[in-house]
Symmetry: C2
């Protein structure tokens, strides 16, 4: 079941040569480029808004801006970050439905003209702070299959979406389309079906009221291969195209997608060091392997063991079962306890364990100083081109 665990060549070369203090994240921009171009090739008609939250390293933003990516931002700090790294204001979409009036005003002042909303309160704020802006209305979808589902935090029901989009047009905004998100690391390639169906129904109701919706925001959720195979982005896109054609015929709205994980996950490797290997009793089959990184210093997505990273160790010899835990005094700072993991029997304090496909949702999640441990630093590498 476990996929082979190999550190990408250039990252391995960097780790060998520089031997940075652990823990650290190393991001290879060439892999970011490759994955971004792969997404664009899979859905060339789509507007691609990279989800900045996945990895906000300035070098990643600058590269993607160079490549012509647009950006899905969640806060004013992400707007500033993008603008400081080469993104044009018109390439930014404020995707967070939760924003203060002052945040909307900030975005408007910096040239952002596209917002996602899901409530009457927020759409009134947008009309007041960013007059004339375009708005997506996010509907609630709850497809199974997501490793990190959204629950009911975002999105409203269909009737309310119609009310919000119509209200938007009344107060000087432009109703731009329906938005939904199938949940991060979505492993059902047809998970977009329900949202597309809702968007079509809402589109027909708005059209009856004389309002055309030019776009559909399909969100992110495109999965990455951690320990198990997942649908490719081509699989997901094929299913999406099929549902768009089925629901909208030959006049579908123009798609917008917000990939994050799919662009940056594979580009990153976390190097950690084994702090200690211990057994709780002489009879224990499992060793406890404590790393110098845990849930509070970068591996937040191992909460409830949702994301199961591939691990690589250069220690030779046979392996055995382990429980993996982080370095803090917190009992919840256990990485994998139920998910079966094996590591070399010879593994000892000071050995490295590399955590693969760790470029998304790691460094920015780190706690600022929990138990005195520093946030995860990022090293960005790229091939020098002629």
């Amino acid at each position: 079941m476990a996929a082979p665990a190999t550190v990408p060549d250039r990252i391995r070369e960097f780790l060998d040569r520089v031997a940075p203090p652990t823990p650290c994240l190393v991001v290879d921009l060439d892999i970011v480029r490759d994955r971004f171009l792969g997404v664009r090739a899979a859905l060339p008609t789509a507007r691609i808004c990279y989800a900045v939250k996945a990895n906000p390293a300035p070098e990643v933003i600058a590269l993607l801006a160079e490549l012509g990516s647009d950006f899905d931002v969640a806060s004013t700090a992400e707007i500033t970050l993008c603008l400081a790294n080469g993104a044009r204001p018109e390439s930014l979409a404020y995707g967070n439905t939760i924003k203060k009036p002052a945040d909307i005003a900030f975005a408007h002042r910096h040239g952002v003209t596209l917002f996602t909303t899901d409530s009457l309160g927020d759409v009134e704020h947008i009309a007041r702070q960013a007059p004339g802006a375009r708005v997506f209305c996010r509907v609630l979808v709850e497809p199974p299959g997501a490793a990190t589902p959204f629950g009911r935090k975002f999105g409203c029901d269909e009737q309310m979406a119609c009310d919000i989009l119509l209200r938007a047009t009344e107060i000087g905004l432009r109703a731009h389309g329906v938005s939904f998100h199938v949940g991060s690391q979505q492993t059902d390639q047809d998970a977009w079906r329900g949202g597309i169906e809702q968007a079509a129904r809402i589109g027909r109701r708005l059209a009856d009221a004389g309002v055309e919706l030019p776009m559909i925001n399909l969100g992110g959720g495109f999965p990455v291969r951690y320990r198990t195979d997942v649908p490719t982005i081509a699989d997901c896109v094929a299913a999406i195209r099929h549902r768009l054609a089925e629901q909208f015929g030959d006049r579908p709205p123009s798609p917008l997608i917000e990939p994050g994980r799919a662009v940056v996950a594979d580009a990153g490797v976390i190097r950690s060091e084994v702090v200690l290997v211990a057994r709780k009793s002489a009879a224990d089959e499992h060793r406890w392997v404590y790393l110098d990184i845990g849930r509070y210093s970068g591996l937040a997505e191992t909460e409830a063991e949702m994301i199961t990273y591939r691990l690589a160790s250069a220690v030779p010899g046979p392996d055995g079962p382990v429980v993996l835990a982080g370095p803090t005094c917190d009992g919840d700072d256990v990485i994998y306890q139920r998910t079966p993991y094996r590591l070399p029997l010879a593994l000892a304090s000071g050995d490295h364990v590399d955590i693969l496909s760790a470029g998304a949702y790691t460094a920015s999640y780190s706690s600022v100083s929990f138990n005195g441990f520093a946030p995860l630093p990022t090293y960005v590498i790229r091939t020098i081109r002629d």
Copy 2:
């Protein structure tokens, strides 16, 4: 069931006068002092090691050092912090059983002579890096009643504890005692019973081998009143004294305790601002109230709704049921969904919601920049004395 929710006077006065940007944590050092003195009065014979991880604000450390507190540290950064704020090296106890040999060497170099361990590997590291040090061996206890139990991450079984403490004496260390931790926010006042019983059995076995254990490390876990009543520290101490007398007769080992939450929780208030109030559909009874703080910017202990803070709002009028959520685009950034909370029906964007008894395990947990949101800042206030 809900306790009255009132912001302590000096904190309210500070918030009114300064109106700091939200979200922020305000810590009143006079309340820290009061709580520390309360703990000392409850168990005057104990060595009190404040658990720095609970709130590592330098002013808190400096005050407690002034008051004669000792310190339980979890990392080299916490050692540096304490030494920089007036703590003496001999007042530090390295309580984290997970530490690199280089961390132990750092501690030894800075004068730390007391360590907690729970594995043969770690005790060998201590003997090598901190020759002559004193060691507690932590045993695994699993009492129910903890809001944030430790699971099996820390501590070994009884037999292994005997082996580790005997091994310690063979390799030049001083076996100092048994350590255990009943889990943070422990609401069963007799939860210390099992650990004390284990410590007594281990003590007898060590005594048979000619090794006397001068101390017992009872850990922390003393609960704080959030929304529901909990045993007082006096209740817990009475139960502890009873068990010590029962198990050790008139020659009990000297107690050491590691309070964190009990010292700082009540001293802190988080001021947050309502970002948005929304309904998902016209039929929804619950409003969703989105605050500008959430699980990733300070309210980490609301994971699984384990800690249920008291909330205060100055908005007048009748209240109604709410779901509370944080400001990020993360579906797990929901604060309270199952726990019934009510807030004023008139609550709107821009109003404040104050989160009480929030001085422990908040600011240091904040993510460094998840979704672009900044870590929670701390303002420390104290009464100017003649």
